[in-house]
């Protein structure tokens, strides 16, 4: 089981901030493929990965990052702090 979190417009498009998913995905990209196959709202949210960033266990990483042992994956648009 892995916690998947969504922020900003990704959260709005998918319609929830967080969900627990039973996934055997080996990488972030595999998890994205699983999510996209679920429902159209996921397909829409993940249609352009260049517009998204990902963090695994609260560390920024890439879409090819492995998920072995990961507890939490978060998807969000480029950050706008400051």
């Amino acid at each position: 089981m892995i916690d998947v979190l969504y922020f900003a417009w990704v959260r709005e498009r998918i319609g929830l901030p967080k969900e627990r998913i039973d996934s055997a995905a080996a990488t972030v990209a595999d998890l994205v493929a699983e999510l996209r196959a679920r429902e159209e709202r996921y397909e829409v949210a993940f249609s352009d990965l260049s517009a998204l960033r990902v963090a695994v266990d609260q560390e920024l990483t890439d879409f090819d990052a492995p998920l072995a042992g990961a507890r939490e994956v978060a998807f969000f648009p480029p950050m706008t702090g400051g």
Partner: protein, 148 residues
């Protein structure tokens, strides 16, 4: 080095924070503070909401501050960043750096700002004329990191 990271919803007292920062540190001759304010570019901004990623936000800010510490001679670093609803003119965040010399304090403050703009998990949503829109990240914010 003392690093203080604060992520909070309510306003902060800039004057009191600036006064207390590095107080009593007679070895630090340079203190730089920067404050980010909600800016109304078009004159139509009603307000701004800032969302963040609790847990990762604090870690990311701490990590950025530690990176700054490894690059410049710093005695104290403070980062305060708000989330939640804000109005035009409200203070969003501040950074403060204290160093023996001004060059380090100025450069470290700029470095902290450049990194926390695009590497700390905050997202801004503006409401203007009743319509809401997410603030898009700027290419120049990403390219600003290349100079470091």
């Amino acid at each position: 080095m003392a690093v203080r990271i604060v992520v909070q919803e309510p306003p902060f007292d800039f004057g009191a924070e600036a006064e207390a920062f590095a107080a009593g540190r007679t070895d630090l001759g340079a203190v730089v503070t920067f404050t980010g304010v909600v800016r109304d570019v078009t004159g139509a901004l009603d307000g701004m909401a800032i969302e963040h990623y609790p847990g990762m936000t604090e870690k990311a800010l701490e990590s950025i501050a530690r990176d700054a510490e490894s690059r410049w001679s710093l005695g104290e670093v403070l980062v305060i960043h708000r989330y939640g609803q804000m109005a035009p003119g409200d203070r969003i965040m501040m950074v403060a750096t204290a160093s023996p010399h001004r060059k380090d304090a100025f450069e470290a403050a700029e470095y902290l700002m450049d990194y926390l703009k695009s590497r700390a998990p905050f997202w801004k949503k503006e409401t203007a004329g009743g319509a809401q829109s997410w603030v898009a990240a700027k290419d120049e914010d990403e390219s600003a990191l290349k100079r470091w």
